[in-house]
Amino acid sequence: MPGNKERWSSRLGVILAVAGSAVGLGNFLRFPGLAAQYGSGAFMIAYFISLLILGIPICWAEWTLGRYAGRQGFHSSPGIFHALIRHPLGKYVGVLGMLIPVVIYMYYVYIEAWCVGYAVFFLSGHLNLGGDVAAYGDFWSRFVGATENGLTFSTGHNQAVMFLLLVFTLNFLLIYRGLVKGIEFFCKYAMPALILLAIIVLVRVLTLGTPDPTKPDQSVLNGLGYMWNPGDVWAQLRNPQLWLAASGQIFFSLSVGFGIVITYASYLTRRDDIVLSGLSASSANEFCEVALGGLITVPAAFVFLGAAGIVGQGTFGLGFKVLPLVFSKMPAPWLFGAMFFFLLFLAAITSSLSMLQPAIAFLEEGLGLNRKQSVAFLGLLTAIGCVFVVYFSKDLKALDTMDFWVGTVCIFMMATTLIILFGWGLGLERGWKEAHYGAEMRIPDFFKPIIKFVSPLYLMGVFALFLLFNVFGWDPATGRFEPTAYVRDLIGPEPSTVARLSLVLMAIVVVFFLILIGTAGKRWQKIKAQTGSETETEVIQR
């Protein structure tokens, strides 16, 4: 088995690895767009409340549960749930902790490839497409194959696939090197480099002044105002969509509920601090999101395009259509454009690396595979998923469908399970005591009722809102329900074949994982039976 004795080599290493997992494209592209859209004053109130009662408590719960199960020799989500829920079915609950990161990896690595591609395009001068945002939109659509299925596999349009091959290989090379020599080593350099690059780009953006004297309104100050000036705060706070957006952003930004943090924490010893480490990783993520992402993206876009250029742009629109135009208008576009997209790449790869570790851990401890076999097995599985996502690229339908059902719905389910398991399964007092072994700071006592009652209820409330708005399509103004496109694509009068195929792929992966977990369970039982009075823990740790 097990016998996996990997441990983090330094405390800073694990903090940077967890922070690297959390800091992603959403910090620089999604957060600023949401804050500007909902009015920063009200949004930030909801955002910080969500951080306090949702993000940080779940984060501590995940670190605690992970370290607790890690001491018993388990590092994968099914193993961790097997250790936590003493029931034959317990390990199957952990399937979410494998499914989520593996499926997200299948499309996330493709987005990562776009970032490298754009950094290279800026360096080579291929992104000087003039002053029309439509030209950048067309470029992006052709590059990612959004106009036609299979486009990126055809000769002459396959640059995205080439970049994908590059980043896919890099990810697996690093994961093959292991926890310390791969993930920790890379994050120790990548995270400080990311912050440094972001600070350089930030200084560049904040010193742009008013680049076009004929448009005095489009200044950095007004750009910051567009991002941060509050509207009618109290009226906005009554909008349930705002709470959904703010808590969703906290939730996804901190990577809680992915099954990654519990795996990372399982490589800690009981003497290692998890309270301050968890808070540090969260604070690094928040710094990158609010202090860097919040001051770069929207003000930069505003300065060159005004408010009209930002409104209605989604994450991809802002990142791959608007910002390339913005950087192309700055002095030394090749430098700052390449820097910005390289920092997005660093943010993405530190996240994608973390997505592979839970499955690798499972293959090693559940099936007894060695590192080489695990990497080959997972490489094949994720490559099949990647080819599926890249081939069915029209309107990014496969990517979007997988992101919605696994990258959003399943994460809500997993996070709810984890916080309930901590507060009610393990028991608050026991969990509290467990969290404080080796702790360098105490969790304030007012977090006790938050973790036991407020966080689960708040999370379930947010999940209910999410289902109401984004699945059932509830319109609060009329009270009517109109199922959203995600549902109509599957069971509507004009279903999408690609969406249905994506669901079939996800279902196959789930069934496949469940079979593997069943096999792993038998193996764990066998080990326990063979060792007589020795506990499974001792055998595993041997």
Binding site: L12, N222, G225, W228, S280, S283, E289, A291
Partner: protein
Amino acid sequence: MTTAGWIIMGLSVGLVTSLFIWCLYRVLAYKPPVDKLHGIDDIDTHDVEPD
């Protein structure tokens, strides 16, 4: 940029930056306890009368 905008930006950015720096300081400044080996003279057996 209105005054309220400056306040919200300052509070938001200031809060996360302060928390990040504080955490970083605590993590980097922490020195793990070193096990001290006591010499024979350090051991007080409580059975010796004071002079």
